[in-house]
Symmetry: C2
Subunit: 378 residues, 2 copies
């Protein structure tokens, strides 16, 4: 848990208008700590950040006392170390995520709420359209669930659409917190989670995953903050998977930031006639890696550094799920009833009844001429 | 038109059992002509092709006289030089296609019927599944039509499904023979065009395009000949576009042969849940170029060497097609009625009537909440 006086110095440093992240890094490099930078003379600071910023740092910003009080109250609301605990990580904190530190512009402060240990695990960002297709949502959920189950933490932006489905899938796949999990990086203060429709999801993530923001408490949703936030999503992860995206969408910004940080970009292809696939297809043209299964990503990553066991009594892995023998025999190509009888060794009556069950469950489609085809749910 | 005696010597050379294409090339290299190779002593041939082949060439193959007579009769049926004329091209013939000559294993003979000049133009192979989706057929037709119109010759295999749609699209796009066109490379003798359902299409291609085979007259459809034929499809073209393909399909063999010949491989991406897209997605994983428009291929090819004007009075190019202003305003993303009124400047009543027309014509889909989306026909 961050020290009260130290927090005050950091908040003042990052909260002073006209002192950007680059200036903060130069001041820390010169003076060693925020307090030392503030205590230094204007003259001493001038050569490092210019006269305006040097002078600005001599004066406490407007509303600073209220912001500090609100931040301390927020931290006290759920103490660090508990499940769902809150904390502020600063540059130089040993818990500050290594992957983010290796980017060109790491945030100075990170407000966090939840399982802070998730920041140490290998992560995959899963992002995409706020207006996805039904299949896109299904894909986001399925990839996130499988990758979380395999031990990766799924990072996304809590937006409607693909982001939300990715968080949900990761929570479903994390098998009681033993592996995987999810991190939501938001573009608002952590006391103002947006969008409102994802409030319940944000609570689930605070309890079983991790909420992250670099924005001070009270920061409302502002369009210009979303690209800034996207660099954290890309920076926390070893790679970014774009599930569905239109051309000129925020997800493509995240993908570009991942490339700039030297990370992998993965994309799920789609019909050339689907507007929601255009962005992914464009990324694939530019050299993103095509993935059609979660295994493609795991293979690319080689070994996965799993989630640290930051909670005792983590549950055993979920059962792998028995594959229905008829579904297994169907494979993924259309197949006639006779061939299916031969493949399964079942009688025609028994098989027909089972196919009807599967059809009613939406797992099998009946094509003309007694031909059947498996319907894939991600 | 090939000389009768010369044809006899070539037919005997390639028709002798145990003398493969590689042996034929060695014999031609040593003796200069098929007749000289046949007239040489067994001893003289032995060091070049081994004792068995050397001896076999001393004896006229079984049924040779009948094959020669049938071939001459076939040639006489539609003399070379006429529209739909027939000919046999041999290695060394100046009309033998340069692109094919640059492959590792060019056919010794090519039976041709139609516009032989098409062999001199820049070509794109378009291949794919015999069991495509409706959209796959539409894509094959649309890409072939546009590429043909742009001056490329479309090469395919006359199979059901994607191949047939590619030939049809190319014929539609060739604007009266002034540019583009299509070449069908078949795996049977040219007197036995397969499949039967494509007989009418084969006649259209013989008249307005070109049929090509390396197999002697009378050769029936044999599965083992199809991969052999596929190397000609890939070899005639500057690149191969796979429109839709299952995993482990013949189209992927054609794509591999294109790569081996140092040609480009293009693929249209598709849903990761569509069996017909799996082959294309797999090619894209392996480095094939993703295309979502015909323009991507034209851009990759840079300048296109157009079809030689081998017929006088070639027609003027077809009209480019006026774009409906409402369709243009719709773009490719869903759009609300109000936004569309603003974009088009049309009144609500007029616009609604026009949208209904477009909906009935299948060009526009009506989504919930007065939202409209353009439906793309390739």
């Amino acid at each position: 848990m961050i020290d009260r006086d130290e927090l005050a110095a950091w908040l003042r440093l990052v909260g002073t208008a006209g002192v950007g992240r680059e200036a903060v890094r130069r001041l820390l490099g010169e003076f060693g700590s925020p307090q030392a930078a503030i205590d230094a003379s204007i003259e001493a600071r001038r050569g490092i950040v210019g006269p305006a910023a040097a002078a600005a740092l001599a004066v406490e910003p407007d509303g600073f006392a209220a912001l500090l009080a609100a931040t301390l109250a927020w931290l006290d609301g759920r103490p660090a170390g508990e499940a769902g605990g809150r904390d502020v990580l600063v540059l130089g904190d040993p818990r500050y995520p290594e992957a983010l530190l290796q980017t060109a512009d790491p945030p100075t402060l990170l407000y966090v709420e939840g399982r802070i240990g998730l920041l140490a695990a290998d992560a995959i960002a899963i992002v995409g359209s706020r207006n996805p297709t039904a299949q896109g949502l299904e894909n986001a959920r399925a990839f996130a669930s499988l990758l979380s189950r395999a031990g990766l933490v799924v990072v996304s932006g809590l937006a409607l659409g693909i982001d939300g489905a990715a968080h949900e899938g990761a929570l479903d796949g994390q098998a009681g917190g033993a592996t995987g999990g999810t991190i939501a990086v938001v573009g608002t203060g952590l006391d103002r989670v947006y969008p409102a429709r994802h409030r319940a999801l944000a609570h689930r993530i605070a309890a079983a995953g991790l909420l992250v923001s670099e924005f001070p408490l009270g920061t409302a949703s502002r369009p210009e903050n979303f690209p800034v936030r996207n660099r954290i999503i890309a920076g926390l992860a070893r790679g970014t998977l774009v599930v569905e995206a239109a051309l000129r969408s925020g997800s493509l910004i995240t993908a570009r930031m991942a490339l700039e940080a030297g990370r992998e970009v993965f994309a799920i292809p789609g019909s050339i006639h689907s507007p929601q696939a255009r962005g992914c297809n464009a990324l694939l043209k530019q050299g993103a890696k095509l993935v059609d299964s979660a295994g493609d990503i795991l293979e690319e990553f080689g070994g996965v550094r799993p989630t640290p066991a930051d909670r005792p009594g983590a549950a055993e892995p979920a059962p792998a799920g028995k594959v229905d023998p008829v579904l297994a025999a169907l494979g993924f190509d259309p197949i006639g009833l006779d061939a299916l009888i031969a493949r399964t060794g079942m009688g025609a009556a028994e098989l027909s009844a089972r196919l009807l069950d599967l059809e009613l469950a939406g797992r099998v489609a009946r094509l003309p001429g007694q031909v059947f085809q498996r319907v894939e749910r991600g």
